[in-house]
């Protein structure tokens, strides 16, 4: 791919999934208006959800999902050895995601709840960086394809990428979105990383913090303002634990 008379790299890319819903990797196949150009910029060589061919020769590995079984650990270690650059894709890979909520209970209890009398092998959920070195993280549930495109552009031109420092509120204001607190709801927007273009509050759902903590959070004030509006600390913490990106604040496993 050429830009300003220079030829970019076209890295070989593999996409792997672990414990997840496969929604983030599906974003790779979304945004049809630029899909062809996206696929010209990178050379996808291994991607179970969209192709049959499989190559173990790749430069960049996108890892989707959290880790919840011993065989997943083995597989992840092998990928880490082969990949020059490893990217955690989505909230499950970055934080453990929704799956992480099970860590609050004994494994035998969650196993019984889901599988009844035929238990399966399972481990407490971990994010990718708790097991291997991660070079870059793209949070989101799901990730934003527009952001993935920008990050891929930065990768092929080898230019550092900066995530926005502002919380979700900033982008809500730019969309004329009515504050969810104004409507009497609890929203994690003031302490959650923005850059998603705040689609959830605009669509009628408060922010649940899928992208994790923003660059300059003020948790003391956030708990205060939530309390003033009738939301207890426990309620806020429960919300923060939904995607697992606020564990440094909630102290959850």
């Amino acid at each position: 791919m050429k830009y300003l008379f220079m030829e970019s790299k076209r890295p070989k890319v593999a996409v792997f999934d672990f414990t997840d819903c496969e929604g983030c990797e599906l974003q790779f196949a979304n945004k049809e208006e630029t899909l062809v150009d996206f696929l010209k910029a990178i050379d996808i060589v291994n991607f179970r959800e969209v192709m049959s061919e499989k190559s173990d020769e790749y430069d960049i590995a996108f890892i989707e999902g959290s880790i919840s079984r011993a065989d997943e650990i083995e597989r992840l270690l092998t990928i880490r050895q082969k990949a020059k650059f490893l990217i955690a894709l989505g909230s499950c890979a970055c934080f453990g995601g929704v799956n992480r909520m099970k860590n609050k209970f004994p494994m035998s209890d969650v196993n019984k709840e889901v599988y009844g009398e035929t238990p399966k092998e399972t481990l407490p959920v971990r994010s990718i960086k708790e097991l291997v070195h991660v070079d870059f993280e793209i949070p989101g549930c799901p990730v934003s394809k527009a952001e993935v495109e920008r990050i891929v552009q930065h990768i092929i031109w080898e230019v550092p990428y900066q995530f926005p420092v502002y919380p979700v509120c900033f982008e809500c204001k730019q969309r004329f979105t009515i504050c969810r607190f104004e409507l009497g709801e609890l929203c994690l927007g003031p302490v959650s990383a923005g850059g998603c273009d705040a689609p959830c509050p605009a669509g009628g759902t408060p922010c649940w913090g899928c992208r994790g903590i923003c660059a300059a959070p003020n948790f003391q004030e956030f708990f205060n303002l939530a309390k003033e509006r009738g939301f207890s600390k426990e309620e806020v913490i429960e919300r923060m634990d939904f995607f697992g990106g606020f564990r440094s604040v909630t102290g959850s496993k």
Binding site: M1, K2, Y3, L4, F5, S8, T34, D37, F38, K40, A41, E149, R150, Q153, V165, Y166, P167, C169, F170, K173, Q174, F176, I178, C179, F181, E182, L183, G184, G189, P190, V191, C214, A215, A216, P217, N218, Q220, E221, F222, N224, L225
Partner: protein, 347 residues
């Protein structure tokens, strides 16, 4: 300035006539908040009945129609071994109805920066000139302090200005195009009775301001209180979210970024409105941050609004609408910050 009277039914015809040729932005009812209070926003309307002229306040100012949150400054097209640049200043004409005096004064402040200073901004001027402004008088809102900051009267910066006299509007006509436009419908010369009614409404407005705060000595006070504990008190509350600057009708600080299309054939230079309360506002190459503390960033927002701007343009940038105070979840409101500064001085 010409003064005329227009009957409300004729005003309705006027709006509907304008809608045939021009995009019309007006306060529109969105929904009630949790306390049952109506929420209005400046949005495009398609017929007169969507317009709510007796609204209290729009949480978001109409700034975005003059300084868009994201504005494409130029587009680049790359082809073979050459490239071309495309710059679009021109926009479709637009009318904004229902601006209150504070919001018109906010535009007059922005004119000073973007239209009358050393570097006129063609993007702003194009939007400003192509926007027909219809303002309206209103009874003071609960939390605004426009009168305390001298932004409650308008003398220029608009096309038409209405004062509601019950069955008719008292109209100030302030431009040739406004006179031409309103002459399409019946208007009347003012009578002694109209003048009497108009003055009665004005008197009622001037007697109804609710918030009092002293602002005339603020530039001096801010100089003295640079190290004040007040900044830590309010700074500790700041959420670093930039909401205040986004809803403010005058905050105009912006950054510029480039975006390249996925096929790398075109690029865009985009100006995006930013906020001095955000962590990286004063971050420079190499990662050094001149304002790493939130209390410093909050302080400088007040210094720009109430001191730096006065130094450059002879009046504060703030017009006292209190949108920042109202939308700040942490409850940082300018009236109480300024009152605290006055208290400090007494000690």
């Amino acid at each position: 300035m010409l003064f005329r009277i227009i009957k409300k039914e004729d005003f309705k015809t006027f709006v509907n006539l304008m809608l045939q040729t021009t995009e019309v932005i007006a306060p529109k009812f969105i929904k009630n908040n949790a306390k049952g209070k109506p929420i209005h926003q400046f949005l495009p309307i398609s017929n007169y009945d969507e317009m709510v002229l007796d609204y209290e306040k729009c949480e978001f100012s109409a700034k975005t129609y003059f300084l868009p949150y994201k504005n494409t400054l130029s587009t680049f097209h790359m082809k073979d071994h050459d490239w071309t640049q495309e710059i679009q200043y021109r926009i479709q004409p637009r009318a904004i109805f229902g601006l209150h005096p504070c919001d018109i004064n906010a535009l007059v402040r922005l004119d000073k920066v973007f239209a009358r200073d050393f570097y006129p901004n063609p993007y702003y001027i194009s939007r400003r000139k192509n926007t027909f402004i219809v303002g309206i008088d209103h009874l003071p809102c609960d939390d605004g302090f426009c009168h305390a900051i001298n932004a409650n009267h308008i003398t220029h910066g608009f096309d038409l200005f209405l004062t509601d006299l019950g069955d008719r509007y008292f109209v100030k006509i302030n431009s040739d195009r406004a006179f031409m436009a309103i002459s399409e419908v019946p208007i009347q010369e003012i009578t002694d009775e109209d003048t009497k009614d108009y003055l009665a409404v004005r008197k009622q407005i001037s007697q109804s301001y609710k918030v009092s705060v002293k602002t005339d000595d603020l530039p001096n006070l801010l100089d003295i209180e640079f190290e004040s504990k007040v900044w830590k008190k309010w700074g500790d509350k700041c959420l670093n979210c930039g909401t205040c600057a986004m809803v403010c009708p005058t905050c105009y600080c912006y950054g510029v970024t480039e975006r390249v299309s996925m096929d790398h054939s075109t690029g865009k230079k985009i100006a995006y409105l930013y906020s001095c309360n955000l962590l990286d506002f004063a971050m420079v190459a190499g990662g050094h941050n001149f304002r790493p503390n939130q209390e410093t960033r909050l302080k400088y927002r007040y210094y720009h609004q109430h001191r730096g701007f006065v130094e450059s343009y002879g009046e504060p940038m703030c017009v006292g609408c209190n949108r920042c105070g109202r939308s700040c979840l942490a409850g940082i409101d300018p009236v109480n910050v300024i009152r605290d500064l006055h208290e400090e001085e007494k000690l």
